[in-house]
Symmetry: C2
Subunit: 410 residues, 2 copies
């Protein structure tokens, strides 16, 4: 199912996990009719897990989500998300705004406020017009349904500088039951691996205990959401939530057994697809660059080298021009803080060996250039020092990134 993603505007009906309803509306934070408020409701209490930004500046809704997850991980009911305003650096008023939103949703569906997650994304430091959100909550909850349109609306309501909604689906079989996983994400700028680095939501009808769901989520993010970068800036609002309704009626996963591992694989597939969609839609980006580092002394060392290359402005601008300037990749590896030996280093650009043993390997510039013009460009760096390996995804750095960010608020 994951492979359907690029070809379809929204998830098909048979991808929707049972036990959830979705809704979206315009509440006046953005200009109508643009959607700016989205909702996910569990029919019953659902099991939840979450990972959040490691930035020390954290938005009020992030603080609220952490607290509610801690109190009610196995009995959550709803997620409400607004775009346009991050409700970050907004002080006590921001905390009150997030809490009032949770209370309003809880009152309407008849649960405790701590069973509601609240998320925000958008500009930092501007007071949130909470009354606009509160006004529409009753109608929003009433409109929630289990249709592809409902889910599609939710994926669009959470967008900011994203140019398209991002979703991914996966399935697995657990104790004879077909389990559905469906995720969506927003994020195009302020993207740098340090937990979730964006907003993302994954719903599933699997029955799974909350410690195991959290464990699976922590594992799944490492090679997916935490392995992407757009601009090196870690957001203040990063939130990834997973909700499991249990409506598939499989035998509840409570141990890290074979069924857990099958679920984990399906979860990783959704996370990887969403992470790559975020990079592909990176602000101003025209292509996805995969930086694979092999032969490092350890996986961690490989990851650090790959991250340094992926974060280099000179490397990223070079991909905007499809210029096979491998020296910049070598130079970035050299400043990564990891001990490398240039004489053992090989670099493949879009499958073309350009650098062998730290010096140029004769190659066709025209061939490398035309391969670098593709949507997906793999780069492989072999360090020749050990068995450590890692993969990090980034996008090219174009003048449009600057145009988008030079006056984001105006």
């Amino acid at each position: 199912m994951t492979n359907d993603t690029p070809r379809m505007n929204t998830a098909p009906l048979n991808a929707l996990p049972r036990g959830f309803r979705f809704a979206a509306t315009n509440c006046g934070l953005r200009k109508a009719p643009n959607l700016d408020l989205g909702l996910i409701i569990g029919d019953e209490e659902v099991t939840a897990a979450g990972v959040f930004t490691q930035n020390l500046v954290q938005a009020a809704p992030v603080v609220l989500c952490r607290r509610h997850l801690h109190k009610a991980a196995s009995r959550m009911r709803a997620v409400i998300v607004n775009s346009r305003n991050a409700n970050c650096a907004t002080g006590e008023a921001g905390v009150a705004a997030a809490e009032a939103t949770a209370h309003a949703v809880a009152r309407e569906i008849g649960c405790d406020a701590e069973q509601v997650f609240v998320c925000s994304t958008g500009v930092i430091g501007i007071p949130l017009r909470t009354e606009r959100i509160l006004n529409v909550i009753p109608a929003l909850i009433k409109a929630a349904d289990r249709t592809a349109e409902g889910f599609g609306g939710f994926t669009r309501a959470i967008m900011t500088t994203d140019t398209r909604p991002k979703w991914a689906a996966s399935r697995c079989n657990l104790s004879g039951r077909t389990i559905r996983l469906l995720g969506c994400a927003k994020g195009a700028g302020m993207i740098h691996p340090n937990m979730a680095t964006m907003l993302a939501y994954i719903v599933t009808d699997a029955a799974i205990g909350s410690p195991l769901l959290q464990r699976a989520l922590n594992l799944a993010v490492r090679g997916t959401f935490n392995s992407i970068t757009v601009d090196g800036d870690t957001s203040t609002n990063d939130t990834l939530l997973a909700l499991a309704s249990g409506a598939a009626a499989n035998r509840t996963i409570t141990r890290p057994d074979a069924e857990y591992r099958r679920f984990l694989t399906a979860l990783e597939n959704v996370c990887r697809s969403l992470a790559l969609q975020i990079v592909a839609d990176g602000e101003g980006a025209t292509r996805v660059i995969e930086i694979e580092v092999r032969g490092a002394a350890s996986d961690d060392a490989a990851r650090q080298v790959a991250s340094t290359i992926a974060g280099s402005s000179l490397v990223k601008t070079m991909f905007a021009g499809a210029d096979p300037n491998w020296g910049r990749i070598l130079a970035a590896a050299g400043r990564s803080g990891i001990k490398i030996n240039p004489r053992r280093t090989n670099i493949y650009l879009a499958g073309v060996l350009t650098c062998r043993g730290g010096v140029e390997h004769r190659f066709s510039e025209r061939n490398a250039h035309s391969r670098m013009l593709r949507d997906f460009v793999p780069v492989r760096v072999e360090l020749g020092l050990g068995r450590g390996r890692a993969c990090v995804w980034t996008c090219d750095f174009t003048a449009d990134y600057v145009h988008i960010n030079a006056s984001y608020r105006t």
Copy 2:
């Protein structure tokens, strides 16, 4: 004298330290008549000090400079520099090219090869056409003179993407003698503090022992060359050399006394001016941004917060648009790895208090915007945690940076 810099095309004759001659030529690495080869010769042996890139990928000439400095710090004779080709990632052929250049200069002026520094800057990974350099060395040495034009030619011969030559002069009085210091630098991209981050040369007629000259240089770079960033990429060729001829005939500085401190101050003035000129001429840059962090737990902590802010693409693009989006500065501070407390954090943008205690302080957007349009924009971040402070300089990040770097080689 330092203050003359912005108003003059090259240093006036009376700024030239005694005991040195300068020359520049086109040797065919760049299209004629563009200068691509520069030379500094000491009339006699001179004392030298140097700092070099910390990148593990180091160009052949950097390795040679380190070795020659180690062998002959108190009896160097010449520096030869080519632009257009970095002679980096060029293997044994690159080492041979740097050595052949040193030998040719030494033969012509009658000294040992180890008394000659060789520097290169330009594209990485392309074989250096050494024969073009060797061919012109006799004429280059013959042309060397003690004129402002000779020095001016040298400052232009070392340029790559620089839009203008960069030089600075300073004076001090030591044991009744007037000491002259004159420096020049190149660098616009691949600029990030980790030693010298560019090519720079400072000549002086002071008499000073080589350990003291090295000590002064190490101290001077910390708050100057090592406190600037353009794009976060540390070069493979960074080299800063200081040469002291002793021709001013002051009492030789051999201890860290009051005279040494006066010399250090003059040296720091030259380094600071050159460092700021590099930032001002950063690729695509339209303005210099000073990030001052106060109230950190330590100076090192302040430096790390300032560096993170100065390196943020979102902060740098915001300055391209003169958008007073202080939330990005707060978010960058929050991900710096240093423990900050947003509630104690104040942010001044171009002198305007925009954030107080982690939340917006009401300010005039129009006023802040128009102040942010100036050539030099100070930012002050107060953390309210201690007495640590640091200052880092960066430039705005414009679409022109991308245009320059998307196809640097073509």
